[in-house]
């Protein structure tokens, strides 16, 4: 009796596993590894399939995790396209020779600040670094226009940052290029002496700002608008753009095409599709991001247009620079 029950249970397991195996096996479509979340990007893939008839399979995950996955998979990667949340992941794949160059007719459409200098990836939308602040605790006039002022002692225990986050590190890389190693180290040490809180990512910082745990935070501009939608317009946080320094640099979300793909045409079609006015407009309207082509512009009372931001012109993905940034963050005792 007992024996019978156990063997039937085992049999059942085998059957279920087998069904599952055939049900889910293999992908014969264009495959995207997406570091951007489904909530924002899923509708774009749907629209692409609708307009071109090309089916897309998407694996969603963290940008860093997916980049590491592609590196581990080597030439056997099922991924054809990598859609990254920041330039660091695309840089890592470029450095390891895993991406192929994107033809000029697509590449040239993208703002020169928001693409790889050697055609390996393109930005599909942009985000600016800003100072977000709690408007109940501090007024707009009190926010400095210069990131150096945050190293003053009056900012002690008021700052939030996310030193392990990709977008923060790109900002530090920009700072190094803009102001040199020594100055950057001094800035990091200056902030560190103000006892900032180390958050995990941008959303945690904005959330903490809303609760009044900190007064200012170094973040990407568009997270605020997500919170306003979710919490209502009385969510007490605002954005502030610094002037003429890396504090207001532009970062990207973008894509690269794997050099092992057998769906090159489809991948390029997707790249082109992401740059169409329709989709650029979607990034602007739905996600408050900057468009990367000249055809679309952003108009919003709380968002400074791209051409008014004085960001330094830097190569976002030079991996040697990334290592240098990490070295500096370690030297300053931040990581």
């Amino acid at each position: 009796m007992q024996q019978k029950r156990i063997s039937s249970l085992i049999l059942l397991t085998i059957i279920i596993v087998a069904i599952g195996f055939f049900y889910y096996s293999g992908s014969e479509n264009l495959t995207v590894y997406s570091g951007r979340s489904e909530n924002l990007i899923g509708p774009v893939f749907d629209k692409f399939t609708e307009e071109t008839g090309i089916e897309v399979d998407v694996r969603y995950g963290g940008t860093a995790e997916l980049a590491s996955t592609i590196l581990e998979e080597g030439d056997n990667t099922p991924a054809d396209v990598f859609f990254a949340q920041d330039a660091g992941g695309l840089g890592a794949l470029t450095y390891k020779n895993r991406l192929q160059q994107i033809p000029d007719e697509i590449y040239e459409k993208v703002d020169s600040r928001l693409r790889s200098p050697d055609n390996f990836w393109i930005g599909t939308s942009g985000r600016a670094r800003v100072i977000s602040y709690n408007s109940d605790l501090i007024s707009a006039e009190e926010i400095p226009n210069d990131i150096w002022e945050f190293t003053e002692p009056e900012w002690e225990n008021k700052i939030g940052w996310a030193p392990t986050n990709g977008s923060f590190q790109t900002f530090i890389t920009a700072l190094r290029i803009h102001q040199g190693e020594e100055q950057t180290l001094r800035w990091l040490e200056g902030i560190k002496s103000n006892n900032p809180r180390n958050y995990e990512n941008n959303t945690s910082i904005v959330n903490a700002l809303g609760r009044g745990e900190i007064e200012v935070g170094f973040v990407n501009h568009y997270y605020l608008f997500r919170f306003l939608e979710e919490r209502g317009s009385d969510f007490p946080v605002n954005n502030h753009y610094t002037e003429h320094d890396a504090g207001a640099m532009i970062n990207i979300a973008g894509i690269g095409i794997l050099n092992t793909t057998s769906y090159e045409q489809e991948a390029l079609q997707l790249a082109g599709f992401l740059l169409t006015p329709e989709i650029q407009e979607y990034f602007v309207q739905e996600n408050y991001e900057y468009p990367v082509t000249g055809e679309v512009s952003i108009e919003h009372s709380q968002i400074l247009p791209l051409d008014q931001i004085n960001a330094p012109d830097i190569n976002l993905t030079d991996l040697e620079d990334l290592e240098g940034t990490l070295e500096l963050l370690r030297e300053a005792g931040v990581l």
């Binding site: 590491s68 990709g166 958050y199 959303t203 959330n207 979710e230």
Partner: protein, 557 residues
């Protein structure tokens, strides 16, 4: 008294055995049944996959690694990790052992409900646990607002060691609770009666008789907590406490340096091996089964009289902080979002996938753990100790490391299975086998080894003994192990994300997808479904358990 006599006997047996050339410690391979060897070898090899991967990466390293390893921050993170792991383990045991004793032994009001509710926190992913903990206890959170309303000017400081310690305790204590509960259910009533007849009061009986017998179960659960704490990333990073696992994540996230990450992960493995061997040493020389004639009888419930509300109170307090607060925060998110016109997105597919995959994972993991548990408890040898160390070593590894090791082997050497359901299930078995191993081992240690001899005498074959005697007696351990694996598979993220079939949605991938972009309302729905499904599953599992228990008691009387 009887224990002393028995250990004397055991010594004599050992001496005789040694004289005749059969040392009890060296029974393998002469006594291990042949049929167990292939599954044990296959499972051990599978468990070693992440370790093999790490060694491959280690071989690619160069001298620059020393700069990383010899930094003061690395040492500090190591100390932080050990401190947190020890503290969480101790506080979890302090909460869980009384809870287990209350819910198994004492007939207080609400016992049945609480015996389920106190286990549910195990299913709360530490990401959600962290978010809700911050919104409940942080500045501007519920507690802070309540204090302000009461005119108390106090802001709880949740960041750093204190917050991480409390949060992980609230999320982890069910590990010990589950293992101890199943041990208590297996315990022989006659031992307790013997103690009571000798004049010990119930409390003294608990400390002198019950507690020592629970040691393997407490150790097994405590070990899981210690190792889980080492491997956790979400809770410590949200609460800003720098542990070793956070250093590993920094390597992946910032420099995409898999080699440095692997070296750091190997250090974690060494750390966990030390912890495992310390804990094992603790229990290997004792025996925990009852001896003597007579049928084993299940524990009777104590009806506590006027103190009965004390049990209800303690359970309510634990459930309030570990379950009601997070679940309440999640429900609050849903209402807050709805008020702002956020959409609720419910994907039944994700709930079904989570349930179905976790269910399969529970069956597969428990069946894989059984041969290992048998070998490691009944055929003690260097080899079985080695298997057990391998099983636990991987448990302290952060999920992302295990997932990437399977990505490496799967994509390059097992393409047919790569990113299919079987590979995902294989990952769960590797990740969660130590959990099932712990509960099975502690149940097995409570079995009197002579029960097998008894089976042989009445003419059973070894397989019959396994089926008709050992497995039925192990039932509480098997169910607890299955419950543990089921719940932890429900909340697993990194492997599900990287190794699931493409387009595979689970509740955790839905939660992650939403929280990463601050879609709290959209994260709240799958989180709530996760908690509800798990509660019902637990209720069903424990219903069966109680039924079996009652059946046994009826048969006895």
């Amino acid at each position: 008294m009887s224990e002393n006599t028995f250990s004397l006997n055991l010594k004599t047996v050992n001496q005789i055995a040694q004289k005749t050339g059969h040392s009890i410690k060296n029974m393998w391979p002469s006594r291990i049944p042949l049929i167990l060897i292939p599954p044990v070898l296959i499972i051990t090899l599978s468990l070693a996959v992440p370790l093999i991967y790490l060694v491959i990466r280690l071989l690619q390293t160069d001298a620059s690694i020393w700069n990383l390893l010899l930094r003061q921050q690395t040492l500090q993170a190591l100390l932080n990790t050990l401190l947190l792991s020890g503290a969480v383990t101790i506080s979890s045991i302090i909460i869980a052992v009384p809870l287990a004793w209350l819910t198994v032994r004492i007939d207080f009001p609400g016992r049945k409900l609480f015996s389920i509710l106190t286990i549910v926190p195990l299913v709360i992913p530490s990401l959600i646990g962290g978010f809700t903990f911050i919104s409940a206890f942080g500045r501007g959170g519920f507690i802070h607002q309540l204090l302000q309303w009461l005119n108390i000017n106090f802001v709880p400081d949740i960041y750093g060691f204190g917050g991480a310690w409390i949060l992980l305790t609230l999320l982890c204590y069910p590990y010990v609770l589950l293992t101890v509960r199943s041990a208590l259910m297996n315990m022989d009533q006659s031992q307790i009666e013997a103690a009571r007849t000798m004049g010990l009061n119930p409390i003294k009986t608990f400390f002198k008789v019950t507690l020592p017998k629970l040691k393997p179960a407490v150790t097994a659960g405590g070990l899981l907590i210690a190792l889980y704490t080492i491997s956790d990333f979400a809770a410590v990073s949200l609460l800003q406490y720098n542990t070793f696992t956070r250093l590993i994540y920094i390597e992946y996230q910032t420099s995409f340096n898999r080699i440095y990450a692997a070296v750091l992960a190997l250090l974690l493995v060494m750390m966990s091996l030390i912890i495992v061997s310390l804990e094992m040493k603790n229990q290997n020389n004792n025996h925990y089964y009852s001896v003597g004639a007579g049928t084993k009888r299940h524990l009777m419930k104590i009806t506590p009289g006027k103190w009965k509300w004390l049990g209800t109170g303690f359970c309510s307090l634990v459930v309030l902080f570990s379950l009601i607060l997070p679940a309440g925060t999640i429900i609050y998110w849903i209402f807050r979002g709805l008020r702002q016109g956020e959409e609720l997105i419910i994907r039944p597919e994700a709930a079904f996938n989570s349930f179905y995959v976790s269910f399969l994972a529970a069956i597969l993991t428990v069946s894989s753990a059984l041969p290992i548990a048998l070998v490691s408890t009944h055929y003690k040898s260097k080899f079985s100790g080695f298997i057990q160390n391998i099983a636990y070593a991987g448990y302290a590894l952060p999920g992302i490391v295990v997932a990437l090791s399977l990505v490496f082997f799967g994509a390059n050497y097992g393409r047919l299975f790569y990113q299919t359901l079987p590979l995902l299930l294989f990952a769960y078995v590797i990740l969660f086998l130590p959990q099932a191993l712990g509960t099975l081992r502690s149940s097995l240690l409570q079995l009197n080894p002579h029960i097998e001899d008894a089976g042989l005498i009445i003419g059973f074959s070894r397989m019959q003994i396994l089926h008709k005697i050992i497995l039925p007696l192990l039932k509480p351990g098997i169910l607890s192990g299955a419950a543990l694996v089921f719940l932890t598979s429900m909340k697993e993220l990194p492997a599900t994300m990287l190794l699931g079939p493409i387009g595979f949605r689970s509740l955790t991938t839905e939660i992650w997808n939403a929280t990463i972009e601050a879609f709290y309302t959209r994260a709240a729905v799958p989180a709530l479904i996760l908690i509800i499904i798990s509660s019902f599953s637990l209720a069903i599992i424990f219903k069966r358990k109680e039924d079996t228990e009652q059946k046994c008691q009826l048969q006895e009387s």
